[in-house]
Amino acid sequence: MLNVLLVDDDTEFTDIASNIIEFLGHNTSVASSLTEAKQWIISQPFDHILLDFMLPDGSGLHLLDELKTLAPQPYVTFITGHPAVKGMLSEICGPKIDYLVKPIQREDIESALSRKPKAKTNSKTTKFTKHFGCLLGESESMHNLYTMIQRVASTQANVMLMGESGVGKEVIAHAIHQASGALGELVATNCGALSKELIGSELFGHEKGAFTGAVSKKDGVFERAENGTLFLDEVTEMPMDMQPNLLRVLESKKVVRVGGTKEIPVNCRVISASNRAVESIATDKVLREDIYFRLAVFPIDIPPLRQRAEDIPLLANAFLDELNQENNSQFAWSEAQLSKLKDYDWPGNVRELRHCVHRAFIMSDPQSNQVELPASFQSPFSLVKKANNSVSAGQTIEDVEKELIRITLEKVDGNKTAAADMLGISTKTLYNRLHAYGDFEE
């Protein structure tokens, strides 16, 4: 049971709110002005103060100074009906200060008093555990990843995320930002999407008139991510001649806008990401060595989905659940379907799985609750990847031969004579091989 002080000049609101708070099992005292609130806090200790921002004799902020002298300091939840005040309050919020925006629901009060974040809405409640509010997966490799996120989030170290396309690098950047409790925002930019001419302006900002078309001053992403996190996606696609400028900012923690002369101090964690393999970063000369060591203070390898296949049913269920909630439907996977999803190697990783679930959801018969999976999961990109990476060290000759026969048959729509021609073997030999591999039989 908590001792709660409710400070608001709207008496109708305090009447109802105190009723609700008492229903929730807490003691409530009510003050309708700053003066009354000050009297209350002198006369007795409170665990939590629900404080209106605008009071007849001043701002609720004035009470904060008085509260700082108390030990133990109560938790404070500001209540405001003014959206403009919301932004300002979010800046002063800390471990003991929070805010609520009217209209308020019981859940808001409950979560404020319990100091737990409120679930977004009842309809959005999910049975899936999202680590750091956004990551799904219970495999060992994901738990190792969570540990790394937790450790690095508590430091200011720059992080480099490495992993194949579609593994969720930006989601992990969000998780690190979330876990760090940084006051500033997460600002994301894609270095591969910017032209050589624009990248300087995007990263460091520009002054008015710096170049043709620079009609006004612009803050760069380093400035926008002040006290927060800057996510540089596809950092290895940044032109080499821009990299010394980036290095200078990383080392000096100061930016100079394009066309400007003034050095502006910046303070943000840089999370960069690349889908290139670590060894190719050096061999392909896509990133300067000095920049690599600045960016990859803490490198994190994100496992591809095929290396955490045990998470596939969980992810497929979670994606389907999201679609069910959005569309008020009740589709479900059968065990056989989940097993089929688990058996595929998902070269496009989580992004490809999500796409496949969405496609299956759209294709499914609304009269039934069963999702219809396509006959083949392969996308044009997965075929290209397969074709390019069909041979790797560790594979047996038998595996390679089997794979070659499979993709040849796919190429010729299952025509065995054409496939045998293409493979340079007789049709009889192809049949013998197919018989031996059994798997290809319909």
Binding site: D10, E12, F13, I16, A17, N19, I20, F23, G81, H82, P83, A84, K102, P103, I104, Q105, R106
Partner: protein, 70 residues
């Protein structure tokens, strides 16, 4: 829209949020009363407050719409 008009509109929206908040809170109170099998008198009082707040909110919105197009 001029800064003055924007400020006036923001203030009116703020005023409309007051009764909306009371509607929300009274509805929560009614839910609690029903969930806890409490006497229904309190729920009826809360329902009357909701009806009155709806009217107040409607008046505020009417003011906003009239002033916006002046």
């Amino acid at each position: 829209m001029s800064i003055d008009k924007t400020t006036a509109l923001a203030k009116q929206i703020h005023n409309a949020r007051g009764p909306l908040n009371r509607i929300s809170m009274n509805a929560e109170l009614i839910k609690l009363i029903i969930e806890n099998d409490m006497p229904k008198d309190k729920a009826l009082v809360a329902l009357d407050k909701i009806i009155s707040a709806c009217q107040e909110c409607s008046d505020s919105l009417q003011n906003i719409s009239e002033q916006k197009y002046e």
